[in-house]
Symmetry: C2
Subunit: 359 residues, 2 copies
């Protein structure tokens, strides 16, 4: 029997609350399938760890993680630890260190999920954002000059490599070709005269390798506008690290809220473990209260199933989430219900079990 070894970094705030439910679902799927299993190893890394140890994870943290088949991450960030430490020294280190250069973020409005847009058909919100996840604006390069003087000036440098741009675009095009979809590149060459001119140029080059795939190009400002006014234009969206960050939170806003926004950080070559995490933050104010919606975390777990090759189960889990949304009996407060985090998880688990039985 195949066993998948998963490193669990529940992290801060509601991280542990929501991950527990995702784990429940993964275990249910494996148990009912019977041919594979999961082994979860929990690491207490995050802001609490930082406050005790002065670091977000141990010095050999990456070596430890490297031995796992995947990482399942809850949320990072807590008052008292500056965000640029908590995130840059854990989440971003893993994304970059394990070359998880593809960030797959579905923006799909499930049946039963609330949509804030009045004039948009549910089917029109159905895209996936392929975000560059290893370089670009997030490279961390910069300098801080004349500190503390009136001439203080700070540089932040985005680093875009040919290799980095090519591989994320090829990933997007491969996906689009497989699914018969269009690819939309989002950039900003009219203002960012180096990085985005380069991005556009490479997009044109790569698109020639895929003559059968329809392409579109938007400026990031226009894309943000159309996410709200006409999201049906977008199918596979490929964009930079920062633009992907902004557009996927906006995507969450139109597709049911942060409680439904999932993400996979993939190293497609499988040289290093990939990481699966809900997009939402750690929401310390509601941690432990049961108010957190575990659906994003469960959806991320379904992306893990996809990545391990169980795409049928990945889809089944999303269908089970949709069942619960449509039924409306076990919804989190943010979706207008009063179910606790674990009750939502139980409800999804029940639907998963039912669907697996009737396969």
């Amino acid at each position: 029997m195949k066993t998948y070894r998963i490193a669990v970094i529940a992290g801060d705030g509601i991280g542990p609350d929501v991950l527990a439910e995702g784990i429940k679902i993964l275990e249910t799927v494996a148990r009912m399938d019977g041919t594979f299993s999961f082994e979860f190893t929990h690491f207490p890394w995050g802001c609490e760890y930082y406050l005790k140890e002065g670091r977000m994870m141990p010095e050999d943290g990456m070596d430890i993680l490297k031995q796992f088949d995947a990482i399942y991450l809850g949320a990072v960030g807590f008052p008292g630890v500056p965000d640029h430490i908590s995130l840059r020294e854990l989440l971003l280190v893993i994304r970059k260190g394990f070359d998880e250069y593809v960030n797959v973020r579905p923006v799909k409005l499930l049946k039963g999920a609330p949509c804030p847009l009045a004039n948009v058909k549910r089917e029109d919100i159905d895209m996936v954002v392929i975000r560059e996840n290893s370089e670009g604006e997030y490279s961390g390069e910069g300098e801080w000059l004349n500190k503390g003087t009136p001439e203080e000036v700070v540089h932040q440098t985005g680093v875009f490599t040919r290799k980095g741009c090519e591989r994320i675009m090829r990933y997007a095009f491969d996906l689009a070709r497989k699914e018969g979809k269009s690819v939309t590149s989002v950039s900003k060459a009219n203002a960012l005269n180096y990085s985005m001119v380069f991005w556009d140029q490479i997009f044109h080059e790569i698109s020639k390798e895929y003559p059968e795939v329809e392409t579109h190009e938007y400026l990031v400002d226009a894309a943000a506008c159309h996410f709200v006014r006409d999201p049906g234009r977008f199918q596979v969206v490929v964009t930079s690290n920062l633009f992907g960050d902004i557009l996927t939170d906006l995507g969450a806003a139109i597709a049911g809220g942060m409680g439904l926004a999932a993400g996979a950080n993939l190293n497609p070559e499988r040289k290093y473990p990939s990481m699966f995490e809900p997009i939402h933050g750690s929401a310390p104010d509601i941690a432990g209260t049961g108010a957190a919606n575990p659906m994003a975390s469960i959806w991320s777990a379904s992306q893990m199933l996809d990545f391990f090759g169980y795409e049928n189960y990945g889809k089944l889990v999303i269908d089970a989430i949709e069942d619960v949304l449509v039924e409306k009996k076990h919804l989190s407060p943010e979706l207008g219900g009063n179910a606790k985090t674990n009750e939502v998880g139980d409800a999804v688990q029940e639907k998963v079990a039912a669907r697996m039985q009737h396969r």
Copy 2:
């Protein structure tokens, strides 16, 4: 009689269509007031000029413009001229060259304007974005290395100065204090470890100078989400050049569309002319057809009136736009009507005249 000398750069596409209507309104206001007038000087700069002359404006273009009291700009950009040339060599040169470091962009849902958000009250969409307009991500600094090789790498450097951050924040705080509003800073320190850590630090410093002003801070991704889910949180928003660009297009999306989105590029010290322009692009496909909505351009004209000290008239013009929106008889196609650009302008003009008569 005071005469205001305005340099008109109608630019490309629908630029001339919409500016003509704004000029109509400015002339009406001045004529009926009787104590001041406008003198408009038209400059045929833009992409057509570029295709003939190889540059977007003449070499002494900035010297010419410097002599005017203000610049009124339509839209820039046309197929055949790369955006990073057309915009960077005209619009961005003026913004930067004239130290128009404040970009004031109202995001206000007027009565009668359509809103794509189902669960938001009209009054909740009423903010102004104060965008840093002279530096930051738009500084144009960068390098392009190993061109044409597999090791090709491109750097784009944002440049944030203490002076630049302080002055835009003070502008926002002064405005908020005057109007009894809160200030929200939008940044992204958890990922942009130099520029946005610096931004946040200066925001904390400046906010101490204004103890009576309530402050909030959002990450740009979260801000984008809340623009859609809960825009009522925002009153005066201060943010960087790039984030302001993205958030104001998103703002346009929630506040009636691009046809209603106005902007003022201010040099508050009045050392150089300020520039007023609708936010929308040149939309070459509908240029000259009468389909363009001139309301954004008229709204920008109202910002010009504000800047010259006629704030009562500035407000009156916006009220006149609102009259036309509420009446619904003379609306552009994008707002569901079939009025031509000049008919919409005429309708607003009529309302302006009526309101000026009944003062």
